[in-house]
Assembly symmetry: C2
Homo-oligomer: 482 residues x 2
């Protein structure tokens, strides 16, 4: 059974999840060529296979931003220190992790320039210049760019000094409009993360402690990774007039009064790739959701030296591509079929199609779906439609599996013992007094943080705070988090 | 004629090209909301209308890069000084314009980090790690990102401290393959700039003086702006093994020998937007080539308060969009038709469609094409096909007009007087001895530089160098340049 040995050997290059989840993650991202470490501390190189996933994420998200009335712009990456200092909470939150440019060419700069950690300060400066009247509102802009936060501990996709993201920044005439925008974009995120990435999330509002530096309210979507930890997958902030007052964004209202604009911002980043990997991956490697898989179908010709096999495989590829599918034909003759099976399973391609002389004779192809590892046959006649339907089934199954996992790993706690036990393996719903002290104590004792307060606040497990026992005010999720 | 007065007043907000070309350019880019100045020295804010052009350029170029076998990646924006120093010519060329990060958070860095002015150094470092055998070759990667060059004199799109671009970096096993790649990508640029942006270019090789810092050979496409100056619109470099030797990019050849990889790089940037504006624009403002115009057709309902007009206009918009066209319906009732005509002409929308009650009665729409300002009528029945064809005609006409302009403003010089006269209004073809001294003298005297040596070297106007009179070796273009 030389073949089986080889498979075995191949698979053991990835540490099992149960043995060491963190090492499993590193093995997977490096072995599948998603990413590599860069020769700059805390930075990553996104390799073609990883970047292709990001491009598909961008495409889906950008289309939805445009459909909801947003336009893309590009703001400079450098921000003068004086601009950054205008909003006190904001600078306090970000200053410790800013990379500073102090020299330009041969010239020592009079004022330090920050590489943007986020661009509220520069958007606000421009909005203050651009807005005069209520007629100019709303302005709903977004940019795709990289940002820099000088992190001490880093891990590719999850937390790096530089990462890619989008940041939407909007200004509105009324608080109601700003709040509607904030929640609309949170819902856009939820929809895309669930229905494109097949990653289920919980939606809600962040605590005062966990909200964005300078925001009046922050909302988040939180996903559960396979080790039970939370990953904040996207945030949407309502700033009220907080930044507008600091940066002087004023407009003449319909009534002829000078008013401050209401502002929002929202963002997702290459973290989403980390979320995909840690939600769906297994001991064989990646399991990519079909809608962002760079390769949705890999065709493996069997006995490809035999007459007609490669030609038929090429025709099959062309037919599937014509139907809009992303297809790879692996006709390398330097690797065995067994090796290739493992390789493409590890790379998480949703559907494998084998096509050999006997298949062709019978007018079928043999498929294997990566999510369940089930095999079957499909008639070559009309196969594109069948595969398209199969990919949708795979998406649905992956989303359902992940949702079931999340539900099974979410517990309810009414005391600190239950809370401690629950956060070892997943999310914990608990009643909370809204006190910062309780959040700090739980963080200190269990290394767990509040994730968010769900919009549906019904079903409070207790009328007392899980930590201090005082009257509870909010239902909130606790978890260990990335 | 109050209407005419208003039009006149509106148009005079743009300085005529003949009066002050530089001021015309600034008026156009600011008045049309392409760009704004940023609160950071030498940087620009790309506004929605300008960024939408960039997105369309990206889409066209990226598709062609992929079709020619390239994959996208993302490399970190910061480069440790020690990496930058490895290739002597390269660092000499770029060091004077590098922005340096010296502080990360609260920590003073041991080693300065450059914000990438270009990414050869980091690509080379990764390639050295990734390549082992000839089987790994070629590697053909590209990235879309922003780069930073600390410029003293800046102008939006043409020369700014930060700009957006793509940089392709490839490594190959043989010099022949690298040279083929270099010229293939030059040709891809020529094809796209001419057939998508409608900007004609001359192709050729740069002189030793003008080539990229660290390249063995640099090739360029050069466009002629409406003031007769050259704009380098794209470059493609063959590095030979120059960087590979400095960075240790070695591979085991088929014969089992350790060899250095052959390398290329090539790039275009947001400069292309400047090229579009200064090639096609006129005293009314922008004239956008249809294939990258964010709005290809603007529909102006006439007497839109009358029953049925707006409904029919909306149906027309939907029909055109269904045919894949980018359409705006300007139904603002706060502006006069005359004001709107001027606005959309200034913004360079290729086709204007007017639709009033009488048009609808007659089953037609009245069009105006921006390139010639000609008006006519089109039957509403089957209009999408007609407009699609019209946009192609407009593209062809814009390309032809620009090509004719370039030809009419290209002269031949056999002496310095003719050269001096020629570079006042356009390009000059001349014979050249290949001496750096002659390039320097011409730059000093006439502020003109060599642009490139065309591949077709036939038709040398003289066997003596236009400057020193020594035997001529090359036919080359001279021009004043952006």
């Amino acid at each position: 059974m030389a073949k089986k040995d080889k498979q075995q050997e191949f698979v053991t290059q990835i540490t099992p999840r149960s043995e060491d989840f963190s090492k499993w993650y590193t093995d997977v991202i490096l072995r599948t060529d998603m990413v590599d470490y860069a020769p700059v501390r805390g930075c990553m190189v996104i390799k073609p296979y990883g970047y292709a996933v990001w491009e598909l994420i961008q495409k889906a998200f950008d289309a939805e931003f445009k459909r909801t009335g947003h336009q893309n712009v590009y703001m400079p990456m450098l921000i003068p220190e004086s601009l950054l200092l205008k909003e006190a909470e904001h600078v306090e939150g970000f200053a410790p992790e800013v990379a500073w440019v102090t020299q330009g060419g041969t010239e020592k700069l009079d004022e330090r320039l920050a590489i943007r950690p986020t661009s509220e300060t520069i958007f606000c400066t421009m909005y203050a210049k651009w807005v005069q009247s209520w007629r100019d509102l709303p302005m709903k802009y977004n940019q795709w760019c990289s940002v820099m936060r000088w992190e001490k501990t880093t891990r590719p996709f999850l937390r790096t000094s530089e990462f890619l993201w989008q940041e939407g920044h909007t200004i509105h005439a009324t608080p109601e409009e700003a709040q509607e925008e904030t929640l609309t974009m949170l819902n856009v995120y939820r929809d895309l993360v669930e229905n494109v990435l097949a990653v289920p999330v919980i939606c809600g509002q962040k605590s005062e402690k966990e909200k964005f530096a300078g925001a009046r309210a922050t909302y988040s979507i939180e996903a559960m990774m396979h080790d039970g930890k939370a990953l904040q997958a996207g945030t949407s902030h309502n700033f009220g007039t907080n930044f507008a007052e600091a940066y002087g964004i004023q407009f003449l209202s319909k009534d002829g009064k000078l008013e401050y604009a209401q502002e929002t911002s929202w963002g997702v980043s290459t973290r989403l790739i980390g979320a995909i990997i840690m939600t769906h991956g297994d001991d064989r490697g990646l399991k990519l959701p079909p809608r962002v898989a760079p390769i949705q179908v890999v065709i493996l010709p069997i006995a490809q030296h035999k007459e007609g096999v490669l030609d038929r495989a090429r025709a099959l590829k062309a037919e599937l591509e014509k139907a809009g599918l992303r297809v790879e034909l692996d006709d390398r003759d330097t690797y065995s079929a067994g090796w290739k099976f493992n390789e493409w399973e590890m790379k998480g391609v949703p559907v494998r199609l084998e096509l050999g002389p006997r298949d062709i004779e019978n007018g079928v192809a043999t498929y294997m779906r990566r999510d369940t590892l089930e095999k079957g046959t499909l008639a070559l006649d009309g196969i594109a439609g069948e595969i398209t339907a199969l990919l949708d089934q795979i998406h649905d199954n992956m989303l359902n599996q992940a949702r079931t996992f999340m539900e099974e790993h979410t517990t309810v706690a009414t005391n600190m013992e239950e809370l401690e036990a629950g956060v070892q393996t997943g999310f914990v719903k608990a009643a909370w007094c809204e006190g910062r002290e309780c959040e700090d104590e739980i963080k200190e004792k269990f290394n767990a943080s509040t994730r968010n307060m769900p919009f549906d606040q019904s079903g409070m497990p207790s009328d007392k705070c899980v930590c201090c026992g005082k009257p509870a005010k909010k239902l909130i999720y606790f978890a260990k988090a990335y």
